[in-house]
Point group: C2
Chain length 219, copies 2
Amino acid sequence: MSHTPGVRQARKQRTRQALLDAALDLLEGQSLSSLGLREVTRAVGVAPTAFYRHFRSVEDLGVALVEEALGSLHPMIRTTVSTTGDGEERIARAIELIAGHVDVYPAHVRFIARERHGGVRPVREAIHDQLARFTAEVGEALAKDPQSTDWSGDDLLMLAQLYVDQMLITASLFLEAPATDPAERERVSRIATRQLRLIGIGRRHWLDRHGPAGAPPTP
Amino acid sequence: MSHTPGVRQARKQRTRQALLDAALDLLEGQSLSSLGLREVTRAVGVAPTAFYRHFRSVEDLGVALVEEALGSLHPMIRTTVSTTGDGEERIARAIELIAGHVDVYPAHVRFIARERHGGVRPVREAIHDQLARFTAEVGEALAKDPQSTDWSGDDLLMLAQLYVDQMLITASLFLEAPATDPAERERVSRIATRQLRLIGIGRRHWLDRHGPAGAPPTP
DNA sequence: CCATGCAGTCAACAACTGTTCTCCGGAAAT
DNA sequence: ATTTCCGGAGAACAGTTGTTGACTGCATGG
């Protein structure tokens, strides 16, 4: 069995990572469908042909970027949703976590937001798949919450989808808020907090009168 | 004063519209930042240089497309939000209207969804401005609803934003649902309906105990 | 120690891009 | 009737693109 881990593969994955990083950088000002192969290799400092040793095409690189941007996010999602505490605390914690993630990985967040509906089909589908996984995981976590007793699986999934979409919208808003303007960040934070709060209220009263066509409110 | 509107300007705006239409067509499979000037003129059947008679650049054309896609949507928004009737009826009507719009103008919807976070700054900003106008209009409409008594202006705007974002998400989901699969369309419709319903419930109970840190629920 | 594998280089290709300048024909204005 | 205006065509430009084939140096496995 291989006595050494291989200096070979280490070097390979190093330039591969360099290609991914350079691409992510270049994607700050354009979409993936306009990103050129040569543009990426030039930024890294390797020959254009070296690109093919790592990716079949730019689309391929895009799919790899989706993995990098979202693949490592699942544990964070799980711990966030399963955090204990008061509803308000959980909301604040979730938004804090989103803001922190945007601060640390702004390029990744921008990439996902941009290419989710972007012009490259395989990348769109990769993102869609990952988000579907997120939704399923959030749905499972919600199912374990005592607040979700008597909820149907369908309803849990539609709520999970609402949460996941809301997470993306909030992340995108943080991204657009300039890092130099803490007041704007605070504004985004406050709006997102209240939106989550409103959804939480709707969630608490979801099963309040679920009979067929009853009188308006039953306090 | 100009005695005739001019056959001249009529022909000009005809090719201008042809350029817009062709661009929208080509944008089904790519993003604006990769759309070439020559590509568009070739699709229309005019010389590349003719492009400059109508737009300074492809970015410029993109901004014009935003106007075309969203500018004419304001009346629809107004009539939708101000529609009378039961809450459930209004939800059904709104979703019906979104689905219908996506059916009639799929390319426009795709363009907005794609370029909202796309790689071309001026286009992103134009979309953002239009959506901000939508949010303001929805907020005004909500303010007139008796259900919004005692709501702060800030809260009305955050709810309006929630509605506008939800509208875009739903439109995008309808767009992804293949036209050949009515079952999928129905699924999207059902999920969107329940999400709007949940938001509506949260809205009804928004002011329920807005005092500081009270006991959990007060039935 | 030698032979294989493989990341990366180099040169060359046909095709395409945005932009410029010059010109043309017909509508508009005088 | 004559001049002006202007949407469009044509040719040409320097750059850029993706992809190819054959080549090189070096870590790996026998």
